[in-house]
């Protein structure tokens, strides 16, 4: 995937990048569990 995006990650840096990516995925999972209002209805009061 990194290559497809034009990114080169050296082997020595891979563990750190993987660790950060795992953290971001964890944060993303937090949001995935949250049901947002339907599109067009952000809940912002008029």
């Amino acid at each position: 995937m990194a290559l497809a995006l034009g990114l080169r990650i050296d082997a020595e840096h891979l563990p750190q990048v993987a660790d950060y990516f795992a953290r971001l995925q964890k944060l993303s999972a937090l949001l995935d569990d949250f049901p947002l209002p339907p599109e067009g209805d952000t809940g912002v009061p008029s």
């Binding site: 990114l7 840096h13 950060y20 953290r23 971001l24 944060l27 949001l31 949250f34 947002l36 912002v44």
Partner: protein, 453 residues
């Protein structure tokens, strides 16, 4: 003259009245910078020749009967992501040394100079402002002026340290997730993140377009107000004259509930000290703060990786290793994650709008702990990620927030965050001034810096 470096208001008054020449003030600031530069490493560039020339022009204007403005002769410095005509904008990076010098000042720089302030230098920061501690691999770590073994916070760490050390009374920082308020808290000064979109970011190197704010740090509530109003392009006046608080007891003040986030007991003690002098009517629960922090982190990551995508593809090895690996990970995030985080941002903002229908001001801790010790092993990743625990949610919502330094017997500075509804800056600045007059808040005394007054 050196004592004037602690107060922009007093400096400007002395210069405008002819009691002190701007050149004397600027030379004192430059001397103070030189005396502390090696130890604190706040500055990446000191613009001595230009500053002395600008000060001479101000003195000439005063001698000719003119008025340079409400910041006449006041030295200030800017985080090195603001364009300054004739100089390279480094943004904490090495590769930016190859860029051409800026051809014009950023709007915020121009606003302060137009009001008579004199730019004396550009300040250290985390690379691309993507950090919390100003431990910059290219330019070295900036030290906390109150304990040189500790970080001043980040990413506007140079700004926090320079104001905290008393070498300039005002500095400009930027705040994506807390990068003005955290250094202000760690360095014992005031910092204001205004309402999102209120101040022009033109001429600044952005990290996250959805969350970036520009704003001032200062050593007093009055100086913060003068700087903010100058940035708005308004003629600064005394805050109390412009927006009087009819009665402090009429304010609807809320205290954030403990569920908002874990913090050291001293942080909550500071909050209680501020709350004790205000009519706190209730505890306030902010919904979904963990998700708000997550959304802010994801939006920042996605937008930062986008902003620096070309560099990541071509010259990643030349980036600060502390930043590079995080940006590379961020570049791999799917667009769906980013879009979902933006959707949550809109929802969370609507929730805060509802909360502030019955509230004028919310009081929260600013940071969960004191300034951490410098060192990659000393400040681990989990610590870095939690430094912005209390500031991130209000960045996400774009609400104005002000960090005040609380007077306490703690060994290190501790800040409290005051939050208002959008465009409530005047209220926050008035409240900070009120707390200062009441003796609850005030700049942390200089103890270990080379500049004593």
């Amino acid at each position: 003259v050196r004592s004037l470096l602690l107060s922009a208001a007093e400096t400007a008054a002395a210069v405008r009245s002819g009691k002190v020449r701007a050149q004397e003030v600027i030379r004192a600031s430059l001397d103070a910078i030189a005396a502390t530069r090696g130890e604190l490493n706040c500055f990446t560039d000191v613009l001595a020749a230009q500053a002395v020339a600008d000060a001479a022009a101000i003195d000439l204007m005063i001698q000719s009967g003119g008025d340079p403005g409400p910041l006449a002769g006041v030295p200030f410095a800017v985080k090195n992501l603001y364009d300054v005509a004739g100089f390279r904008t480094l943004a904490g990076a090495k590769i930016t040394r190859e860029h051409r010098p800026a051809t014009q000042d950023a709007d915020a720089v121009r606003a302060l100079r137009t009001n008579g302030a004199v730019l004396v230098g550009m300040l250290n920061m985390d690379e691309f402002a993507y950090g919390w501690t100003t431990e910059n691999t290219h330019y070295g770590p900036t030290k906390n002026p109150h304990d040189h073994a500790r970080t001043p916070g980040g990413s506007s760490g140079g700004a926090g340290a320079a104001v905290g050390a008393g070498v300039v009374p005002i500095a400009l920082g930027s705040d994506t997730n807390g990068s003005i308020r955290v250094p202000a808290a760690f360095c014992g000064v005031y910092g204001l993140k205004p309402t999102y979109g209120l101040l022009s970011r033109a001429g600044t190197r952005l990290l996250s377009t959805s969350l970036d704010h520009v704003g001032p740090l200062a050593g007093s509530a009055e100086d913060l107000a003068i700087a903010f109003r100058s940035l708005q392009g308004m003629v600064p006046r005394k805050t109390a004259d412009e927006h009087p608080i009819p009665s402090i007891h009429q304010l609807r003040v809320g205290l954030v509930s403990n569920e908002f986030g874990e913090a050291m007991p001293d942080a909550w003690s500071a909050v209680e000290a501020v709350a004790a002098s205000l009519p706190v009517s209730r505890k306030v629960q902010i919904p979904e703060v963990d998700r708000a922090r997550a959304a802010a982190s994801l939006i920042t990551a996605s937008e930062a990786a986008t902003a620096h995508r070309d560099t990541l593809q071509r010259r990643a090895k030349e980036l600060d290793p502390l930043i590079r690996d995080r940006l590379l990970a961020a570049a791999l995030l799917p667009a769906t994650t980013y879009v979902h985080a933006l959707g949550f941002k809109a929802w969370f903002r609507s929730q805060l709008v509802t909360v502030f229908r019955d509230l004028d001001v919310l009081i929260t801790p600013c940071t969960p702990f004191f300034a951490p010790v410098i060192g990659r092993t000393g400040v681990d990743t989990s610590t870095k990620l939690s430094i912005g625990r209390f500031t991130q949610p209000f960045s996400l919502a774009g609400f104005p927030a002000l960090s005040v330094p609380v007077k306490s017997d703690t060994a290190l500075p501790v800040g409290v965050q005051l939050v208002a509804a959008p465009f409530g800056e005047a209220l926050l600045l008035d409240l900070a001034a009120y707390l200062e007059r009441a003796g609850i808040v005030g700049r942390w005394p200089l103890q270990r810096t080379a500049v004593k007054t």
